[in-house]
């Protein structure tokens, strides 16, 4: 008899999770990367095949082209994927603050025409601060519409602490916080534990042994959402830390899907 719980038992046999627990991936992409790596099988239809194998019902996606080069083209490509597969993909609008003259129009297009549900911001790639003037229209739009912003490449958590207090109707989801080497408390965990509207994405590329359980114990399962970053990374690799973690199945259910359902109002 296995000593672990039901969800881990399903995983060790590679049984798709869909019939047992709802899984929503809060952090995914689509499309190719020219930056430093080859992303095999990155088209929406290939991604659905991967999602089906694991049993993921929906993935919240931004296009790699939107993040790394042309935000408007990338948003269009996500819209096309949503049109073709409305039950499988939820769209993140990418608004590049380096093109301030286009932001207001693009916000309207993304949310009124494309049907996107949330916003993706990437500080490292776009090299523009979350609290910069050019991004203010985005924050105000999010605040007015009770939206979630997935924040990737955050440099200063002081900024996030201030913004989360200033924009209380906006949810801030911090990317890549499911992996912790346990050498000092990361600021992201401290902010998420304190601020009611700050959450953590469980992706993160290093699998420190026991690190994920520590993250959950610091912030609570209700503050963590499963994310994979796939096809930038591997969906099954990233979900392993949740499936095999030594936390209760109820906590896993919250992390795998229930928290995302609430945040994205699905």
């Amino acid at each position: 008899m296995r000593s672990v719980n039901l969800i881990a038992e399903l995983a060790i046999d590679g049984i798709p999770l869909k019939d047992f627990v709802e899984v929503i991936d809060c952090h995914a992409h689509m499309g190719p990367s020219g930056v430093d790596q080859h992303l095999p099988r990155n088209a929406p239809e290939d991604m659905i095949g991967t999602m089906d194998r694991v049993g993921v019902s929906k993935a919240c996606v931004s296009h790699c082209i939107a993040v790394f080069s042309d935000f408007r083209l990338g948003n269009q490509l996500v819209h096309k994927a949503i049109e073709n597969h409305p039950d499988r993909f939820i769209g993140y609008a990418v608004l590049n603050p380096n093109y301030p003259e286009e932001i207001v129009d693009e916000l309207a297009i993304c949310f009124e025409k494309y049907g996107m549900k949330a916003i993706k911001w990437h500080g490292n790639v776009q090299q523009y601060p979350l609290d910069g003037d050019n991004y203010k229209p985005v924050l105000e739009y999010a605040e007015s519409n009770n939206l979630t912003i997935l924040c990737d490449g955050l440099g200063r958590f002081k900024t996030l602490r201030e913004l989360s207090s200033q924009y209380r109707n906006t949810n801030f989801l911090i990317a890549h916080q499911g992996s912790w080497d346990m050498k000092g408390l990361p600021e992201a965990l401290a902010v998420a534990a304190e601020a009611p509207n700050v959450y953590l994405d469980s992706s993160g590329s290093i699998e420190w042994f026991g690190g994920f359980e520590k993250v959950v114990s610091k912030v609570g399962a209700e503050k963590v959402l499963f994310g994979s970053d796939f096809p930038w990374g591997n969906l099954a690799f990233m979900i392993g830390r949740v499936l095999f973690s030594e936390i209760r199945d109820e906590e896993k259910r919250s992390i795998l899907g229930l928290n995302a359902r609430a945040l994205f109002r699905i």
Binding site: R2, S3, V4, A11, I12, D13, G14, D36, Q37, H38, L39, P40, R41, N42, D46, G49, T50, R53, V54, D181, M182, K183, S205, I206, E207, W208, F209, G210, G211, F212, E213, K214, F230, P231, W232, G233, N234, L235, A236, F237, M238, I239, G240, R241, L243, F244, S245
Partner: protein, 263 residues
């Protein structure tokens, strides 16, 4: 109804022993490692001693043998260096001792131990290993996948694979960003292998199996520093056949160890 043969997991990338910096959650004893393996249904592990990583091959290699004695499921892997500085003693005597102790695999740390993988540095060592077909595992001290850009010398791996065709070369903990360098090598060399412990490329396992064959991949974890959850999940949910999963899970490593000449 046909019976499905279970996937027996054989971890090719595990260590035991204390380190200067401790992950508070990681076990460092053989008992602790055995408990984690049991929890994750890992039946066997090819294990080396952590002392060898930071303090050189001796006394860690001999200590490993005494620490795993009496525990089922552990197969010793010694850590070696190029022989020129005399830290290994005489190469022939070393090989004789490996045969006596039934050590069928070795690991090197070219980054951490700071030596070059060119022929002029490792040629005689790898020739001796090749003569016996002893699998050579290479740990490049990769923590984050981006470390590969600075730490893996692909030209040197190419030369070693080309010059030592009977030597199984196993790359450990290569990350998701290696495909553009890795694939040309997998396409050329049947003696090149890699563990999947950190190979989180999207559908990477599937792509390699389709293009080059499942025999190039070995199940590995990086225990106890890194969690086995991700590689197990990745293997079990991969879109490959059950037989390919069995090969990667353990059969490929078993085959390599069985081919070692212990005469």
């Amino acid at each position: 109804m046909p019976t499905i043969t279970p996937i027996d997991l054989f971890d090719c990338n595990a260590t035991i022993g204390r380190r200067a910096v401790r992950n508070p959650e990681s076990p460092y004893t053989i008992e602790g490692l055995a408990h984690i393996m049991d929890h994750h249904k890992i039946k066997h592990a090819l294990v080396s001693h952590a002392i060898c990583e930071s303090s050189g091959p001796f006394p860690g290699n001999e200590l490993l043998l005494s620490e795993i004695e009496g525990f089922e499921g552990f197969v010793p892997c010694w850590v070696l260096l190029p022989e020129h500085t005399g830290e290994l003693g005489d190469l022939k005597a070393l090989m004789k001792r490996m045969v006596e102790a039934n050590v069928r695999a070795v690991k090197i740390y070219p980054v951490k131990h700071y030596f070059n993988l060119s022929e002029w540095c490792v040629g005689s060592l790898v020739s001796e290993l090749e003569r016996r077909r002893v699998p050579l595992l290479m740990d490049f001290d990769i923590v984050h996948y981006s470390d590969a850009q600075r730490r893996i010398g692909w030209d040197q791996i190419y030369e070693l694979c080309k010059n030592h065709r009977d030597l199984p070369i196993i790359l450990l903990r290569v990350g998701m960003n290696v495909n553009r360098n890795l694939f040309p090598l997998l396409g050329r060399f049947e003696n090149l292998f890699m563990d999947i412990s950190y190979y989180q490329a999207n559908d990477g396992i599937e792509t390699i199996c389709e293009a080059f064959g499942a025999h190039h991949l070995l199940f590995g974890t990086g225990l106890p520093i890194f969690s086995p959850a991700a590689p197990i999940s990745m293997l079990m949910y991969s879109g490959i056949s059950h037989e390919e999963k069995r090969m990667i899970g353990g059969l490929n490593l078993r085959n390599l160890l069985d081919l070692v000449s212990m005469e």
